[in-house]
Each structure stands twice: as C-alpha cells, then as structure tokens.
Symmetry: C2
Subunit: 298 residues, 2 copies
C-alpha cells in the first residue's frame, strides 16, 4: 500500500496519533503553528515549511523569489496565529552544480525578507540534492489574548478573507506578501475566533477551520473576491497558495470589520451548524457542495 492511498492529510493524521506531548504544549500538530507556554503574557509559536523544486516552484523561476517564498510561507503561518515572527533557521539542499550567482540570489531573497519582517536568521544547514529544497523553521511569539487557532469558529460567525483569490500559480505564489500587518491589526483591534492562511485553496482551508471547530459553513459565490489573475470562480475556490488570511468573527465584531475601511477585509460567508457541512450559494440562490479537494502533495 502506497502513501498516496491515504493522501497527505490522512498521513498527517496517522502520524499525529502517535505523538505524545508534555503539559507545556498548548497546541501540537494540526494548526498553522504549534503553541507552547512561554511567559505570563505570551506563548511561543513554532512552525516549519519545506519548499521543493518541481512542487512548490520550478527550476526556471526567479531564484530571488524562490528564497522569498521559502521564508514568506513561514511568516504567513505565524501571522495566521496572530503572532510576530522573531527567529528562523534555514536548511537548504542544492545540486552541486548550482552556480554561486544562483545560490546568492536565493539567499538574498530569504535575507531581504527576513530584514523587512525583523526575523533573525540564527542558523542553518547546507546539504546537496538533485533539486533545490529549502526548509525554514520559524519561532515567534503571540500575546495570550491575541492567539487565534483554527478551532475557534462559532455558529453565526462571519467568514472573511484578506484579499482576492485564485490564479496564484501565475506568479503570486512566489512573490506574495505575508499578511502579517493585517493579522496583527486584526488581533489587536478585534476578537477573531478562528484564522488560517490559504495555502491549499479556499474550500480546503475553510474545511480545516470547520473540522477543527466542528462547524459547517455557507459561502456566497458572488462575495468571493477574485485576484487579478484568477480565471474564474473555480480558481478562486480551489487553487492553492493565495496566502491570504481566512478568518471568522462574531456578528458585532464583523460589523465593525466591514465598516472599517483601513484594511480590505471582505466577508464571504458564515459559519453554520456542523450538519450542513460546507455549501456554496450561487447567484441564483442554488446550493452546491464543493466538488473537489484543493491541493495535496500526494
């Protein structure tokens, strides 16, 4: 039996069942970051993301942007939990025939973004492989009151996204801006019940929130914002790597978020009882269920 039979999420679930955690771990595997006891007021956040040539980027992609993406996905995870990143370690495997110019541009992509987001690159490991692979682990911190997990969505919550979706494969997935500023604005100003960054597609990542929160959801087709390069609704619903924030908040909070024009948060649906699952309402009021899954590595 091959791992493809279980799929990525089945495999993750299988592995996670074997994990034993001590009392200092507030949240282990299964969210954007692990959450660990730190001080009276703050939690520590930990996350890792591996990007692989031919999977997450192509050999011919701009090497500077490959480096940028490698760190941006990690910063995005910290943002999705409401925190601020502070330290990262970088493991990188490169083909032996890599030019120094290419290696320099990849690392400049990492270092420039690190400087911009005040992330200390405190260590790393170099190895060789047939293809370029970068794995970055990031550590950050979040005020206890600002921590947001996938599991907090409540019936009646309004669902929001932080920007247009779809078509990320046509460039944005490499050059995207991690929504750290937006996430920090949200957790400082509002009570956000659940949050995730959209890496596997809107429907799939909303599915993660629903599963963790034991809830259902209704999405309104006409409310889902398209990015400039989206080819249509299917693209916005199912294609991965938008790296926009997807979050939910109660009604009173939601009204304030909608009326606030400083940040472009867009309501796209609401949280309902678990028994409804995830349904999409089209322009004519018709209901459909998502007809396919988003991205899985296998």
């Amino acid at each position: 039996m091959l791992i493809t039979k279980l799929g990525e999420f089945g495999l993750i679930e299988r592995f996670n069942k074997q994990i034993k955690l001590d009392k200092t771990v507030i949240k282990g595997p299964g969210d954007d970051c692990a959450v660990i006891k730190f001080s009276k007021d703050r939690y520590m956040l930990l996350s890792c993301d591996m990007i692989v040539e031919g999977v997450d980027f192509l050999r011919g992609d701009n090497p500077y942007l490959i480096g940028h993406k490698a760190l941006a996905v990690s910063i995005s995870d910290i943002a999705a939990c409401g925190g601020l990143p502070q330290y990262a370690v970088v493991s990188m495997a490169m083909p032996k025939k890599t030019s120094l110019l290419r290696a320099d541009r990849v690392t400049k992509g990492i270092f420039d973004l690190a400087r911009k987001y005040k992330v200390n690159i405190v260590g790393g490991d170099l190895s060789c492989a047939d293809k370029l692979i970068i794995d970055i682990s990031i550590t950050g911190f979040v005020e206890k009151k600002s921590l947001v997990l996938r599991s907090g969505a409540k019936k009646g919550d309004i669902i929001f996204v932080s920007g247009g979706l779809g078509g990320s494969c046509r460039g944005k997935h490499l050059s995207f801006t991690p929504r750290l500023k937006e996430a920090r604005y949200l957790v400082n100003k509002y009570k956000i019940n659940a949050m995730i960054d959209i890496s596997d597609g809107l429907c799939q990542d909303l599915g993660h929130i629903l599963q963790s929160s034991r809830a259902g959801a209704i999405l309104y087709e006409k409310l889902v914002p398209f990015s400039k390069s989206a080819k249509g609704l299917q693209d916005a619903l199912y294609s991965g790597e938008d790296f926009e924030l997807l979050f939910t908040a109660g009604h009173a909070q939601a009204k304030d978020i909608i009326s606030n024009t400083t940040m472009p948060f867009m309501p796209i649906g609401e949280i309902v009882d678990r028994k409804y699952g995830l349904r999409i309402i089209d322009d004519k009021g018709g209901e459909t269920k998502p007809d396919k899954q988003g991205f899985q590595h296998f």
Copy 2:
C-alpha cells in the same frame, strides 16, 4: 562559478556575513546551536539538521534507523551546547511511490527517539520529492552557567572525546546514541570551556573549535580511541559522523575528569597557541599536520 569552488564552509561564511541579528541573539550561526535570550537563568537553543537520501543515508538503509538518525543529529547539537532538547518540528519530503510501511517505520524511528529523550514533536510539514529528505528543527534550553560554545577553548586546556572514533560509515552513523546524558553530566559537574559534536571528522571539528577559539592544538596519535569498526588512525581522524562529544577543559578540571570512572571521557591532546595550528604527534614523537579535510557537502 559553481558553489563547489567555495566549498560548504566557504558558502556558509559567505551567507553568514549578510545576516543581521537583534540584541536577543547571544550566538547566531556558527555553533552547534543558536543561543537566544530566554529567562533570567536560561537560554533558548535552536538548531536544524537536514538529512538527504544518497548523502546522509542510502535508499536501502533500515528506514527505522533513518528516522532515528534524523532526530538524533539534532539532539546531538543541543547536547553539544550543554542543553536539553524539548520541542522539534519535522519536515519530510518523500517519493510518491513510498510504501505506507516505509513511511511508518521512518516516523516510528523519529517518534521512539523523541519519546526516549522527552522531545515533543509539535509540528511538521510533508512534501514530495524524488528522494527521501528529512529536516528536523529542534528547540531546547540550557542554564546560562551550563552553556558551552565552540569558542571557549583556552591555551593549556586538555582535549577530550566521549568515545571511540572512526568507521561510523559502517553502521554507527545511523544508530548512534546522542551523547546527551554525557554532555549534561559534564556541564553539571565540571567547567567545560568548549564543546562540539563530531559530525565532520575529528580533525575538521577540532578545527572548528580552534577557529572559533583562535587557538591551536596538539593531538597525540596513541591517545585517539578507535571505535570497533575503525580501520585505523586515518579513519578515526578524518571520517565523519561519529557524533561523539569533543570538548576541552582546564588542567584542574581535566584531572578530575580523567580520574572519574563513571563516564568514559578520554584525553587526546591539548590546546596550544594559535600559531601552532593543529599538529598530530605520532608514536615516535614525530609531528605532522592533518593532511586532508573531513567531510564537506560540496
């Protein structure tokens, strides 16, 4: 120009020059772990290690031991700084054709060792690649008074190793026991001036201590302990992945360490002035300089 022209350590040095760190970082890249301010009494340690099929293990190796090694190398890094590991995140890329049995055995190798050393696996990332690649980042803590870096070796220090060297490629590199117990014993009982785990070969890793400490060293051939599978002195001096501790301590401490029979620490030489570099004294009193480097990835 290819990266091979600079070599692994040249490349690391080139990258590290571009790194900016804030005041909370006590020690950035260039030691077994990064050291970060944490509390009044303790520092936080951070390290990452990537192992790659065809480089750090072979496709046909025991998958349980591949998983074991992936975490053991990280625990060894925390040990080398005198600390205790507590949290780890695991990134793993596997070929799509991996059998579930193989994936299970690799992860069991990781999880069993994690349990044994009380390491919480708090998160991870799965991806696919042509070859199996595992990158583990580990976080631990060390009492401020127990922190040991590569940079503390002093003229007159005695140089010790924690076990026999050489021949690790014939099996030990996969199944080795990280010297955590030994390292904690040392830092709790003695004043250790410098420490590293031997991953690239005795001469090369001693070279790292000498470079960081701006010191020279004399090794006595007849004192270098061989492991059972070592093929001779060259093997013990230059082959990598013994994962024994290499450390230095002042004369008075060294006397105590030598007379202590609880743990098998063996003196192999002494730290001298930088101008002498690294010299090896053979059985007849003849002096040689190390004639080749240890392992580099490129």
